[in-house]
């Protein structure tokens, strides 16, 4: 059916003319008691850690970039992974961890990547757009050097971020997404990740890693103190 006819079938019973602007909105988005809550860097950090770990996420905080690099190296050593995938060099990294990724000979994502090369990576290392204190959520946008495969395919996902990237609410992250659309540079994929992949479909018994990563590890640079 053509669009005009389809929309007309909707407009008519609603008593509207095709193309008529919408009735005025009385409310948009969340109630004000939610939008207007006080939020400080310290409260955001505390809330994020509580929520993120509550979803079985693992988080380590570092006071300096150098410590974070050493930390990433340790985490990779502990995992004992042999095949690591990571965003490309030009991707929007929150902290420069090139030296560590090179040392581990991580497979790097770029615009000409053959996706299948990442089929069997065990660990994916990425950064993120922001993270949400209310829900312990990591937000990842796709891009030429930030392939979705890097964090969706492996069993372990490591996220590099800064405490200054924490926002209080989901709404702040979503508003930024709408603004990116206005500017004409919204990412094709914005992925909101809250903990490990899980399912309770077998006799209500919760299991993790059924499709996505079973471990989600955040390495956060504390840059707000």
């Amino acid at each position: 059916m053509d669009k005009a006819t389809f929309l007309e079938r909707i407009a008519k019973p609603l008593g509207r003319m095709p193309g008529e602007p919408p009735s005025p909105r009385t409310v948009v988005g969340v109630p004000s008691f939610w939008a207007d809550r006080p939020s400080t860097p310290a409260s955001r950090t505390a809330s994020f850690i509580e929520r993120f770990t509550g979803l079985a996420g693992e988080i380590v905080q570092y006071a300096s970039i150098e410590e974070l690099r050493i930390g990433l190296n340790h985490v990779l050593k502990d995992i004992g992974a042999t095949k690591i995938g990571a965003w490309g060099k030009e991707a929007p990294w929150s902290v420069d961890v090139e030296e560590v990724l090179e040392r581990w000979q991580a497979l790097r994502w770029h615009a000409q990547t053959e996706r299948r090369a990442f089929d069997d990576i065990e660990v994916g290392v990425t950064s993120c757009v922001c993270a949400i204190a209310d829900t312990g959520t990591i937000v990842i946008a796709s891009g030429p050097e930030a392939g979705r495969t890097v964090h969706q395919v492996p069993l372990i996902h490591i996220i590099i971020l800064r405490a200054s990237q924490l926002v209080q609410s989901l709404g702040e992250a979503l508003r930024e997404l709408a603004q990116a659309h206005e500017r004409g540079d919204v990412a094709a994929s914005n992925h909101f990740i809250s903990g490990a992949s899980r399912s309770s479909d077998i006799e209500n018994d919760q299991t993790i890693g059924v499709h996505g990563p079973a471990r989600v590890i955040a390495l956060m640079l504390q840059d707000m103190t």
Partner: protein
């Protein structure tokens, strides 16, 4: 929609379900778990009634202006390079799917959970076209292997135990498995990963379409929808035309309402917001994106003061978990794709025929569904109005019509009522035992087989009243 249970009615199917102890236990356990988790998470979240009201207001505004928001949504989708198909009927939607699949020469398709694709039997049609289709949600995968239909909107394989699941997986994969959840889930991960990699097309539903950006928001806990839409070269989205929200800010409200109501989770594990196919210079994500927008009886509810609000539904399944009928009989007894209170309301409306007209009677009208609904749809009122419309249109069994005519005669005049009661008191003796009526056959049996029916007392209240008045006056 068509029933998957032949010509049986809800009563027969319910009898069948009631005889299945495992099913009843599993449904009870699951719905209790979801209900209690919801209670806990909404209690901790606070102001739940204010959130529900906010959800209702946003949905009401959206549906009241749906033509505008659908227009904006689809213009934005097309601006991002997606193809939009408008399907007035299930046949139109299947036709669009067939054209896309043929153009892509598709042989294999992976799917994530979507009620609207169940509604129009997408899998059946794909198989007819010779296309191999795999459900990737763990519960849906189990249900697909067993050749059944989902029994719960959120937890499709609620009726299967782990031994049955192991047997299905062993038959599908040809390898020995234990009944450990971890082993079963690992088998699914291995098997379904191969399916993603081999698929030509990925099919998903759509939790919300965001008008202001043309984005599709998809919620899963497993992360399967994300792989379904990103790994194959073509992504097809099926969505009911009502699945729209005006802005990203509105999505925040529903990102709280939906997982809290559905599973008692504070937040869904994965929310994918997809805005068009992969961009230039991107090496993954679908190259082609098609969005099929389905009416299939929905527009008939628009402008109807009794039923327009049914389109506010966000498919969370909270009404199932609290329904005293669903909790006893499970999803299959409804015989329609949408079970529980929402199914009892929606199925006859979308179908608009005699099919499913018994479903509005499969309810105690207790109103628990309304209390549980995150967008405050008055489902119990709708069930009554559906019954009224069936009666008004003459779609009632002759025996029921005769019974109600008799009822009207009997209760219409006080004298007639009193005489009848006096006669009934004499006639009841053959079936009255120990103060209760126990009918083994006839119309009363339906009640007395499972419930108490006290015998008519020796004297009615009216007969007692003069005496009571006398005694009262004497004391005063």
């Amino acid at each position: 929609m068509s029933t998957t249970h032949g010509s049986t009615n809800v009563h027969d199917r319910a009898q069948h379900a009631l005889a299945d102890d495992f099913l009843r236990q599993a449904v009870h356990f699951t719905t209790d778990r979801l209900r209690y988790k919801k209670q806990a998470v909404t209690g901790e979240f606070g102001n739940w009634e204010a959130w529900r009201e906010r959800g209702r207001q946003i949905r009401q505004h959206t549906i009241a202006n749906l033509d505008y928001y659908l227009d904006l949504f689809t213009r934005n989708l097309e601006a991002h390079g997606a193809h939009v198909h408008f399907a007035a009927t299930a046949d139109d939607a299947i036709h669009a799917l067939r054209e896309i699949a043929t153009a892509q020469n598709a042989k294999r398709i992976v799917k994530s959970k979507s009620m609207v694709t169940e509604e129009i039997h997408v899998n059946h049609h794909l198989e007819e076209m010779g296309i191999h289709v795999v459900e990737t949600d763990l519960g849906e995968y189990i249900v697909q292997l067993s050749g059944e239909t989902p029994s719960h909107i959120i937890i499709p394989a609620i009726h299967k135990n782990r031994e049955q699941i192991r047997d299905l997986f062993e038959a599908a994969g040809g390898e020995r498995l234990t009944t450990e959840t971890r082993d079963l889930a690992a088998f699914a991960r291995r098997t379904l990963r191969r399916a993603y990699l081999a698929a030509d097309i990925g099919i998903t539903g759509c939790n919300f379409g965001i008008a202001e950006t043309g984005s599709i928001a998809l919620f899963t806990n497993e992360g399967n929808a994300d792989l379904v839409m990103n790994m194959p070269k073509t992504h097809i989205v099926f969505m009911g035309m009502e699945r729209i929200l005006p802005t990203m800010e509105d999505l925040e409200v529903f990102a709280h309402l939906l997982p809290k109501s559905a599973t008692g989770q504070n937040v869904i594990t994965y929310m994918s917001v997809i805005t068009g196919p992969r961009r230039q210079h991107e090496a993954d994500g679908a190259r082609d994106m098609h969005v099929i927008i389905l009416d299939n009886g929905r527009s008939r509810q628009l402008g109807d003061p009794d039923f327009q609000a049914v389109l506010h539904c966000i498919r969370c399944g909270a009404c199932l978990n609290v329904c005293p009928v669903y909790r006893q009989i499970g999803g299959h007894a409804y015989g329609s794709v949408y079970p529980g209170p929402i199914g009892a309301v929606l199925s006859p409306l979308l179908n608009n025929g005699e099919q499913y007209q018994d479903l509005p009677y499969a309810s105690s009208l207790c109103g628990a569904c309304y209390e549980a609904c995150p967008v405050k749809i008055p489902l119990h009122d709708m069930l009554v109005r559906e019954r009224q419309r069936f009666v008004a249109s003459g779609r009632v069994k002759p025996a029921e019509r005769a019974a109600f005519q008799a009822f009207r005669q009997l209760f219409g005049k006080a004298g007639r009522y009193q005489t009848t009661i006096r006669i009934a008191r004499r006639l009841q003796f053959p079936i009255a035992h120990d103060g209760y009526i126990r009918a083994k056959i006839g119309p009363l049996a339906g009640w007395t087989m499972s419930r108490d029916f006290p015998v008519l007392p020796k004297r009615t209240f009216r007969e007692l009243w003069p005496e009571l008045t006398r005694k009262g006056n004497g004391r005063g």
